[in-house]
Amino acid sequence: MSDVIKASGLVKRYGTVTALDGLDLVVPGGTVLGLLGPNGAGKTTAVRILTTLLEPDSGTAEVAGIDVRSDPGAVRERIGLSGQNAAVDEYLTGFENLDMVGRLYKLGRGPARERSRQLLEIFSLSDDGDRPVKGYSGGMRRRLDLAAALVAEPAVLFLDEPTSGLDPRSRTDLWGVIRTLVREGTTLLLTTQYLEEADQLADDIVVIDHGRMIAHGTSDELKAQVGGERLELVVGTTSDIQPARSVLADVAAGEVVVDEDGRRLTAPISGGADALMTALRRLDADHVRVLDVGLRRPTLDDVFLTLTGHAAEASDTDSEADGSAKRDDDGRAKKRRTKEPVQ
């Protein structure tokens, strides 16, 4: 299938900050690309360029075969965008919001109304469709915003952190809706800070940091790139961390990652259960108190850790300009980990 989104060498600077530093992206028709990166990595900037909201300093981008710079109007006719913050009008009802978008897409009065009702139904908002959005929950607003992006049944869809700020339940619901869309052939570019989300939804994942691609592949490929299973260990006291680390270093096939706060140590190993037994015997001999121990398959979290040396923080706060600074401080110093393991 032909490539529906193509970008090469995108560069965007804000003063001294380089938001994008030569980013290349390719999304074949009917597939989902997950653009994964921590706060401040440049995800929103990339989406804004591809949706004609922002001009890159250099580089080219094509959406549905149309150059975003030379014919932005034609691109807008073919895309749907749900930005990082739910851009819905508080004072309009859910229905009025969708109807307005439908009219602006030139659907005509009748079809716009019909489509709005249909979308409210799909997103389980029918009961609240005639209430002003002011009274909606965060999850409802998000759904309405996504519905607005779908009014004109666009062939290409951009979702910028569609589930940020949602509770786990709403998140899973939204994933279901997105999966249905994709099954119907929509090409989707999705950004996320949630490793689990990319794993769940994307065919192909591009990991970015500081505006540059640092890894690319399917979820499985990325995991393979980072090595085999992980041995994870929780020790009893802070003083156990040092001896445990030296034991793991001998057994491990790669770098040992330590989470001081959680007294948790993680290391890639190649020998499976044998390696685990060896490690346990030596820990016992060194009188290290072990609270919890296990083997697990590598997660995208590990991918990030291995590739960048810091964890991708899945924060629920809106990503703001302080992203990069924050990352360097506690990311590198403490190697803090996200708590949700990838299934």
Binding site: G83, A87, E90, Y91, L104
Partner: protein, 267 residues
Amino acid sequence: MSNLRWAFADGAVIAKRNLIKIKRVPDLLVFTTISPIMFVLLFAYVFGGSISPPGVNYREFLIAGIFAQTVIFGATFTGAGLADDMQKGVIDRFRSLPMSRSAVLVGRTASDIVYNMISITVMSLTGLIVGWRIRTSLPEAVGGFLLLLFFAYAFSWVMAYVGMLVSSPEVVSNASFIVVFPITFVANTFVPSDNLPPVLRAIAEWNPVSAVAQGARELFGNTSPAAPPPEVWSLQHPVLYTLIWVAIILAVFVPLSVRQYKRAASR
């Protein structure tokens, strides 16, 4: 041609959206109508006794000035509304849609005319109660209201530009206070400019707000033959002078605002 048609159709959709807000946020309407009523009453009863322009009842003199100040303040809503849309990402949504690039601004400024019409109506009624009268013909009176609305419309494009530049409704409100108070007070809105110190007097005489107020006064028949005739061209031809300003403001700020809209980068 069809581009222009779409610009109007899109503008109408946006205007409708803004007008729904009048219904849903009555506080806004209360605020826009209460403050002019308050101004009319305060000036009429507090200053009314001590200020007496030659040959004319102060309350009659005053009303057109308050009309002018109020509709100019009305432009703040244009700016604050757009800033709010910028901040909430609504402008980003509009910019990602295949719609006319000027429609959001055209629709917003158009719907704000309705706000101004509502507040002018309320003020007129209050004025009539405190003794203001229209002493000319209906067409002239309509001309007076149109003059106020034209100028307010032009000024709302200035605030539209400011709103998109700063993208914070609070900053727009504060900034407009700082700008609108001086330009509406250093004028002949509340007191005749004749008695001002020379520099302020020159500013007041050439201030378009003075021309708006003076033009409206003439069209409502609130000037008196007993009053000394204005010495400067701007106040001798207040209607023409106002319309020239309207044309200049629109010629500068419509393209400027549309350009700002296109490049608007909300954070």
